[in-house]
Amino acid sequence: MTCRELTELLLDYVAGELSDEQRFRFDEHLRHCSTCLVYLETYQLTIQISRRLPSCEPLPEEVIRRLRSALEA
């Protein structure tokens, strides 16, 4: 397995959806490739920090004002 082939499998790996054989080859590659190990870590970090974004923030005052007048029109 090359680094690129491993990268193509990252989504299924993170979702726990690799076949046994794919998982074995994936883990084998990781044992010998520190670059892919870090790439995997940072791929997972990207997902983790995105999920920590807030679902909302207070609206700016001027936006509230415009939306209110549109609703009341």
Binding site: R4, T7, E41, L45, I49, S55, E57, V63
Partner: protein, 190 residues
């Protein structure tokens, strides 16, 4: 919801404004990548919402309906605007060499995934990276990795197959990872 009954009490217009408008705006802004379009979509969704408030009979149906309406309104708004980023076809795996080795340095990140709240700077970096994704990747990324929707539901919303959702999500994650790396890599920090 009225605590004295088991029936769903539709929110008042004021409650809609207070409790739902910020959520609608944030989702629309993430999908569309800018404030002006997000405001247009928020206004459209709020108007729909106020018109239909009396028709809701189930509490669980309401947030689902609101989410779906916001996504659909944002996608329709973009189609009207004929977004320019749709033509971009970034391929995050292009940087990999013939032998499969990544063509860029790969270093550990200093960001901590377990901190309860992201600091403002980190949040802005992530939001900007999301805004720069091509539309077809951004939609899937926001719905999957920010909103936390399952792939099957995203496929239904975007009228795609599940394999297509997974393919786009994977590309989006690679683009996001590569966009954030220069900011978070330990070696790039003073």
């Amino acid at each position: 919801m009225d605590p004295t009954t088991s029936e769903f009490a539709p929110p008042s217009v004021e409650e809609v404004f207070r409790d739902y408008a910020p959520r609608i705006y944030m989702l629309a802004r993430r999908l569309l990548g800018n404030d002006a379009d997000a405001e247009d979509v928020t206004q459209e969704v709020l108007l729909q919402l106020v018109r239909k408030l009396d028709t809701f009979r189930g509490e669980s149906a309401f947030p689902t309906w609101l989410h779906r309406v916001t996504v659909n309104a944002a996608l329709a708004h973009r189609r009207k605007r004929a977004s320019r980023s749709e033509q971009q076809t970034l391929e995050p795996l292009d940087s990999f060499a013939e032998d499969g080795y990544p063509g860029v340095p790969v270093n550990r990140w200093s960001v901590q995934p377990d901190q309860a709240l992201l600091d403002r700077e980190t949040r802005d970096l992530i939001e900007k990276a999301i805004a720069r994704l091509p539309d077809l990747y951004r939609d899937v990324y926001v719905l999957a990795d920010v909103e936390g929707l399952p792939n099957a539901e995203i496929a239904e919303i975007l009228n795609l197959s599940v394999p297509a959702v997974k393919s786009r999500l994977h590309r989006a994650r690679l683009l996001m990872r590569n966009a954030l790396a220069p900011h978070f890599e330990e070696s790039s920090r003073p």
